[in-house]
C-alpha cells in the first residue's frame, strides 16, 4: 500500500504544475486582487483613524463581528485540525491519513487569521503580548483564551511545518519535528479542549446581557461539543472544495480516501450533533427556560436547534446509511452554517437582547470590509500553500 502511494506520488510529482507555469493573471488572482484592493483602504483606515473610523462599536457594544465571526466562528471552524489529528494519530484511524495535512493547514490558517483579526479588534494591538509578559491576570478567563490560542497556534505551526520543510528541502529539521508529532497532537487536543470551551466560558461573565435561552452554565460544554461537529463538517466541506479546485494536485490516495473521509466524518458528525442537541435541551430544562420558547427569541432558538442541529444530525445519518455522499456534503455545509449562526446568536443577536433596537449593534461597512479582507487573504494564502507544498499529495522523497 505504501509502495503504491509512493509510486503514485512520484507520478503525481512529475505531473504537478511548477510555480513558473502558473499564470499571474488567472481569474482567481484577478478577483482576489480586486477584493483585497477594495477592502485594504478600510484596513489602513482602522490603524490611521482608529476603531471609531471603521466600526459601529461603542461602550455598550464593544464586541462586534470581528469577535462573533472572525474569532468565535474562525476558532470553531478551525477545529478540524485537532479533530483529524486526534482521529489519525491517537485513535489510529489510518483511513483518514489524507485528511490530516489539509486539516492542520486549515486549522493553522484559521488560528493565524484569528490572531490577525485580533490586531484589528483590540484597541492597542501592540499590547497583545502584555498578558504574557507584563500583566498576566491569570485569574481571568480571557487570559486562558489568550494563552491557549497563542500556544495552540505555535503547536499548529509546528504540526504544519513538516510540509513546508519538505517544500524547502530541510530534511534534518523536519526529522526532528516529525518525531514530536504525537506530543504535538496531544498538546493540540488538550489546548483545543481548553480554549474552545473557554470561549463559551467568556460569555458566562454576561448573564444579564445574553438571552436566557443562549445563556447557560453549560456554555463551555456547548462551545466545545459544537466545535467538534464544526471541525468534522469543515473537513468534509474543505475536502469537497479541494477536490473541485485542486484535484489536479492530488495523488491517488487522496482521491481514493475522499468518500471514506466523508463517510467516517459524516457518521461522527451525526453522533456529535445528536449529543449536542440533547445537552442543549438539558440546558433549557436545568434553567427552567421553557416559557421563553414561546417568544420571538424562542422561535429563533428553535430555528437554530431544530433547523441547524437536529435536521443535519438526522440527514447526516440518512446520508451515511444510504452512502449518499452528496447529502453528506450538503449536511456538512449546513452544519458549518449552523455553527456560524450559533456563534452569531451568542455574540451578537441574543447579546444585549433587552436593549431597544436603536441601541443595538449593527456592523458598519468597514467591519464587513475588513472581515472580507481577512477571509480573502486566508484563501489566497491557502491557495499559495496547497499549490506549492505537499498538502494534497505525498512527497515522493519522504516515506514516514
Amino acid at each position: 500500500m505504501a509502495d503504491t502511494a509512493v509510486t503514485t506520488s512520484a507520478e503525481h510529482a512529475a505531473e504537478a504544475p511548477s510555480p513558473a507555469k502558473r499564470p499571474l493573471f488567472s481569474p482567481f488572482n484577478i478577483i482576489a486582487a480586486l477584493i483585497l484592493l477594495a477592502t485594504a483602504p478600510f484596513a489602513i483606515l482602522r490603524f490611521t483613524g482608529g476603531l471609531g473610523a471603521v466600526t459601529a462599536l461603542d461602550h455598550t457594544n464593544p464586541w462586534g463581528i470581528w469577535i462573533g465571526f472572525d474569532l468565535l466562528t474562525g476558532v470553531a471552524l478551525a477545529a478540524g485540525g485537532y479533530v483529524t489529528s486526534a482521529a489519525f494519530y491517537i485513535f489510529g484511524k489510518e483511513e483518514y491519513h489524507s485528511a490530516v495535512r489539509p486539516a492542520i493547514l486549515t486549522g493553522f490558517l484559521g488560528y493565524g487569521l484569528v490572531v490577525f483579526a485580533l490586531l484589528f479588534d483590540v484597541g492597542r494591538p501592540w499590547r497583545l503580548p502584555y498578558p504574557f509578559f507584563v500583566s498576566q491576570g491569570v485569574t481571568s478567563v480571557m487570559f486562558e483564551v489568550g494563552a491557549c490560542v497563542a500556544l495552540y497556534l505555535t503547536v499548529l505551526f509546528l504540526e504544519f511545518s513538516p510540509a513546508a520543510m519538505e517544500w524547502l528541502g530541510l530534511k534534518k529539521v523536519r526529522w526532528i519535528v516529525v518525531k514530536l508529532t504525537i506530543l504535538l497532537t496531544i498538546l493540540g487536543v488538550l489546548l483545543s479542549t481548553l480554549h474552545q470551551s473557554s470561549l463559551g466560558a467568556m460569555y458566562l461573565l454576561a448573564p444579564s446581557k445574553l438571552h436566557p435561552l443562549w445563556y447557560s452554565t453549560y456554555l463551555p460544554v456547548y462551545f466545545f461539543v459544537s466545535s467538534i461537529a464544526a471541525g468534522l463538517s469543515m473537513i468534509i466541506f474543505e475536502s469537497t472544495m479541494a477536490h473541485r479546485y485542486f484535484s489536479h494536485l492530488m495523488d491517488q490516495r487522496h482521491k481514493d480516501e475522499r468518500n471514506k473521509i466523508a463517510l467516517g466524518f459524516g457518521r461522527a458528525a451525526a453522533l456529535v450533533l445528536a449529543a449536542y442537541s440533547s445537552i442543549k435541551i438539558f440546558g433549557i430544562a436545568a434553567d427552567n427556560n421553557w416559557a421563553y420558547l414561546l417568544t420571538g427569541y424562542g422561535l429563533w432558538y428553535l430555528v437554530e436547534l431544530v433547523g441547524f442541529v437536529m435536521a443535519p444530525a438526522f440527514l447526516f445519518a440518512v446520508g451515511v446509511r444510504d452512502r449518499n455522499f452528496g447529502l453528506i456534503r450538503v449536511c456538512a455545509i449546513w452544519t458549518v452554517l449552523g455553527i456560524v449562526l450559533n456563534r452569531f446568536n451568542v455574540s451578537l443577536i441574543a447579546f444585549n437582547w433587552h436593549l431597544p433596537s436603536a441601541e443595538r449593534y449593527f456592523p458598519a461597512l468597514g467591519e464587513f470590509a475588513i472581515s472580507i479582507f481577512i477571509v480573502t487573504l486566508g484563501i489566497v494564502v491557502y491557495r499559495f500553500i496547497v499549490t506549492r507544498m505537499p498538502i494534497l499529495y505525498h512527497h515522493p522523497d519522504y516515506h514516514d
Binding site: 453522533l271 445528536a274 440533547s278 436545568a286 451515511v320 452512502r323
Partner: protein
Amino acid sequence: MDGTIYTLQEFMMRTKGIVYILAIGFLIGFTAFWHFLFSREPREETDRD
C-alpha cells in the same frame, strides 16, 4: 400545584427531575439513533455521489 415556584428547593426538584427524565429519554433515543446509523451493511456497489 399551580406550577408556581417559591423556593430554591422547589426549583431544583422540578428542574433536576425534568433533566433526569430527559437524560433517560436521551439514552434510549441515542441508542436508537446509533442503531439507525450503524444498522445497514456497507454497500460499496451502490455508492451515490
